[in-house]
């Protein structure tokens, strides 16, 4: 089921005007910021479908940028996000894309700073709820409702077992897990949704294991 909470239906509390185009867009932006793990210095934002057609009137542009700045949906600074980003010298580009997408409210955000760069595709599925469907070219389904670990690793035997056994040792329960790879033996991505946030010690233990390239922690 896509919607699991009554507060997905009665909520979120938000600054208008559109839950799909403003609140949902804000959450996609915030997810991109979390994946990058820092405030970006630049962003290229591709908009598709209804997002591309109506983003100026709906404030989808400022909401996406508000999310990149780390604002929540009810932050009253939201409508000033474009100006705030400009003051911080964050370079933002919007591209109205015409490619066909699976969902009418789709955004592709390529965002980075001097150290790092990531690409996220998010969809806004109604009432402010979102799904992240792609990260750095890997397909996934992530709602952002639960704490999660995104682990880039090399596609080798034992890599997954090592990670899950470390989680088990720390008594962390896995709620949902997806494994995805570009090709046999190539770069791969583990997406692990958990019931609780994990601490730095556990992350350090994961980092020290073989075949792990990068770990991103998403809190909720």
């Amino acid at each position: 089921m896509k919607f699991t909470s009554v507060f997905d239906i009665i909520g979120p509390v938000m600054v208008g005007p559109s839950s799909s185009h403003t609140a949902g867009a804000g959450r996609i932006g915030k997810a991109a910021r979390n994946f990058l793990g820092a405030e970006p210095t630049w962003a290229k934002i591709h908009l598709y479908g209804s997002f591309a057609k109506t983003y100026k009137g709906h404030g989808t542009d400022f909401a996406l940028v508000g999310g990149l700045l780390g604002f929540e949906t009810d932050d009253t600074r939201m409508s000033k996000a474009l100006e705030i980003a400009k003051d911080k010298n964050i370079d933002i580009q919007f591209i109205e894309d015409t490619a066909a997408t699976e969902h009418p409210n789709t955004a592709r955000i390529i965002v980075g700073n001097d150290k790092d760069e990531i690409e996220v595709i998010g969809i806004s599925i109604g009432g402010g709820k979102i799904e992240i469907i792609e990260l750095n070219g890997f397909s996934l389904r992530l709602s952002g409702d639960h704490p999660a670990l995104l682990i880039m690793h090399n596609d080798r035997f034992g890599a997954i077992a090592t990670v899950t056994s470390i989680l088990a040792k720390h008594k962390i329960n896995i709620g949902h897990m997806e494994v995805n790879r570009k090709d046999k033996g190539e770069e791969a991505l583990m997406v692990i949704e958990m019931d609780q946030n994990v601490d730095e010690a556990l992350l350090q233990e994961l980092r020290e294991t073989d075949h792990i390239v990068k770990i991103t922690k998403l809190e909720s």
Binding site: V6, I10, M14, G57, S79, P104, G126, G127
Partner: protein
């Protein structure tokens, strides 16, 4: 966990509790939260709704100037005339439109189920309150009941205009309000479902055609339609009128209609009222002639 309206009702009858209680218990169980924290979050949403209605009576105006001030006009009219449609109905209309005027003016609202349709549930609640005199707890329960029905729609069909047209937004919102009114007025879970079905039936096929792509025209006034149908359908259900087509089948029909709706009528601002001479004129006036 319930997936359909019939499961929801079966569960309520089996345990002899209200629909709102089923929703509260499910939230506690699935999200591992205490009753207090679940209720407190809903109470905060109720406060946001109340504040938005208050704010609308100060006379808000959107940045474009397309909407705002109508809630005040209606309240003034009600003070000087006996409204033909009845005091509660028109009061609900003014509060539903007022909420959406605040939304269009980028004020703070509670999306119910979406921002564009955020007026129906609070409009209904704060209007029927004057006759039913609910406790604060009953007002919070009103939102859980509305949420339970919205939960079924969101998981079996859709609640966004871009996905399913305005029938998915104001249609769902009005129907959720109707079901909640019935519970507050002392009706049975079955009667809530009948009221829901009758409201949504009257919204089937409703397109999402925002002028200039904005959540203003026709959205604000469509909340007036949604809340009116909610109150009428609640009365029908309380009178014992039943929907010939069961509630879950109406939701299924809404889903299939939305899927076959052309993209121009699903929140792209390219068809319907958006594509009238005045709609195009307003778009060009607001955004400059892009064509």
């Amino acid at each position: 966990m319930f997936r359909t309206v019939s499961e929801l009702i079966e569960q309520a009858n089996k345990e002899n509790i209200q629909i709102s209680e089923i929703m509260i218990r499910q939230e506690m169980e699935l999200k591992e939260r205490s009753r207090e924290s679940v209720i407190a979050e809903m109470e905060r949403n109720l406060e946001v709704m109340e504040n938005a209605i208050e704010q609308s009576l100060q006379g808000v105006r959107s940045v474009t100037g397309l909407t705002g001030g109508d809630a005040v006009l209606i309240q003034n009219y009600m003070n000087n005339h006996t409204p033909l449609s009845g005091t509660i109905l028109l009061d609900a209309v003014s509060k539903a439109m007022g909420t959406n005027e605040v939304n269009a003016a980028m004020g703070i609202i509670c999306a119910t189920p979406t921002a564009g349709s955020a007026g129906c549930v609070p409009g209904a609640l704060f209007a029927v309150k004057n006759q039913l005199h609910p406790t604060r707890e009953q007002m919070i329960n009103f939102l859980f009941t509305a949420g339970a029905f919205g939960f079924v729609v969101a998981n079996n069909a859709f609640i966004s205009g871009a996905a399913g047209g305005c029938q998915a937004e104001v249609g769902s919102a009005g129907a959720m309000a109707a079901a909640a009114i019935v519970e507050m007025a002392g009706g049975t879970p079955e009667q809530s479902a009948e009221a829901f079905a009758m409201t949504l039936k009257n919204m089937l096929g409703l397109v999402c055609d925002p002028v200039a792509g904005l959540v203003e025209v026709p959205c604000v006034k469509r909340n007036a339609g949604g809340v009116s149908l909610a109150i009428v359908s609640a009365d029908l259900a309380l009178a014992g009128v039943k929907s010939r087509i069961p509630c879950d089948e109406v939701i299924g029909a809404m889903y299939r209609i939305g899927q076959t709706m052309p993209v121009t009528l699903r929140e792209t601002g390219e068809g319907g009222l958006a594509d009238t001479p005045t709609g195009r004129f307003l778009r060009d006036k607001i955004f400059g002639n892009l064509a």
